[in-house]
Symmetry: C2
Subunit: 335 residues, 2 copies
Amino acid sequence: MANPVLVEVTRGTMVESRHRGTVVAVDGAGKVLFSAGAIDHLVFPRSACKAMQALPLVESGAADHYGFGDRELALACSSHNGEPEHADLADAMLARAGRSVEDLECGAHWSFQQETLIRQARAMDKPTALHNNCSGKHAGFVCTCAHAGEPVAGYVGYDHPLQREIRATMESLTGALITHDVCGVDGCSIPTYAVPLQGLAHGFAKMATGEGLAPERAKAARRLMAACMAEPFYVAGTRRLCTEIMALAPGRIFAKTGAEGVFCAALPQEGIAIALKCEDGTTRAAEAMVAATLARFLRHDDTLFAALMAKANHTMRNWNGIAVGDVRVTQALMD
Amino acid sequence: MANPVLVEVTRGTMVESRHRGTVVAVDGAGKVLFSAGAIDHLVFPRSACKAMQALPLVESGAADHYGFGDRELALACSSHNGEPEHADLADAMLARAGRSVEDLECGAHWSFQQETLIRQARAMDKPTALHNNCSGKHAGFVCTCAHAGEPVAGYVGYDHPLQREIRATMESLTGALITHDVCGVDGCSIPTYAVPLQGLAHGFAKMATGEGLAPERAKAARRLMAACMAEPFYVAGTRRLCTEIMALAPGRIFAKTGAEGVFCAALPQEGIAIALKCEDGTTRAAEAMVAATLARFLRHDDTLFAALMAKANHTMRNWNGIAVGDVRVTQALMD
């Protein structure tokens, strides 16, 4: 059974491209409230699970030890644009632990966001690891290791104590058994583990509600999600959907993208979390899917519903500003 | 019936993303030699049919009148990077007709190719219409109108004589009836017409073989394809698949990409043309599909077959150079 078409891209009066995918929304007990496609299939969460990967930073006491507030915790959960504010804050986090960019093992890349890339090209010869979209997560990793007295060098390795702890955290939250077989290497060189989409959603629902979590974990999860919702610019940046969606309703929506068309989101007040994967890995479609799926649980708030649906369904314009077509979600997401 | 998965993207030992699509290869008589998916469905050729759109430039005598050689004709069929050589040649083409960048109606955009964009950002405040990936096609349009004594202003309009002529040319080559219903507006503001994928392939097979074409059209088609194959840098540019594939075997392979995952290609010596569409519009998958489909008709040339399959199946590396997965075509394209 092929996954359903969830997003269409039109041109003129015709559908030009189609995106299939899987979406699941669950409550804190793991009950499925909505689904489309094969939600038991394994999906690499990629960067969409950074808030899970940041739990050791808070649970270990490192975040408090180094005096990290909402901005630092948001950056630890971020896939940012590499804007000056992002790079500077990652640098400052490392400095709190007496560390520097030299300790980052994520590699360097130019910003994925065009306006930022243009500014970077004019301001620097080449980007550093601080500009890597994962530098905040890695700065958090370095601080966690430094605080615990673990070796910092090699912190990205599968057998490093930090990655073992993250693996155990992921297993506990998602309910999935994580073995070498489901392990890949992420863009920033840390391990990434394929888990069932439904388990991924349940993990975020546990974080959003605290259901089924020990008090310390529930508190750390709430703190990380609240930090992201309070400082959405530090989770992504200028013209980025994660930032824009969270800014629509401060404190009410958590949303985090991952490479290859993954998105995780949560509505803490409603006690719901969402995980989705665009089959072909395309960001434009994953963005439409997450906006529409969040909207379906916010029908009671006309303004917020409309604002989210405007992110899901939007007109594309060409270089002369002429409307050429639309990105739109299909009925499969709205019924 | 869903279109088949033709390209997989792996991570570790698992498939992370999947691309579905339709592919058809035909001979000059239109006989289907290979197909996958629904090849009767309508597809917007987008920029993949630029060589068809350039026929009036040659057939009208404008190309000869302005002394255009292989480079100018290749640029008229191109979707280029906006590198200095591309922008300068588009400018020179316009100057031959006493025209300038002011006459271009394609709009302006930064290069889609990162290295070129970085150089552009350092060298200019903002790009002009000469840097638009379609500027060569539009320069050809302006020259065609100027030579014919038609108004240049408004040459992108559906009812402009040039677009009427292109529409008639597309109908004749593809065998499709083109009405307002199948018309969209392209990124560069000219009309684009959805035609059956099989008809699109047949149009390119006619151009590659001359079969079924009047002598003047056959000659013009051969000249345009030969120009692209002789000057592949001017069809795309640095690190671009069209350029790289045509450079593998000078004079033997024609290949042209289009937006939203379209590719057209031809093997003039074998008398075969190919048209394909990745269902989700992703370039990485369309590139793998075209390389593998060309390869299947070149099994008699071990070196060329291997070089094309290396374009179809390739390893992805992260920012630290670590191999994280592969882009690979499925058996559906190789059987």
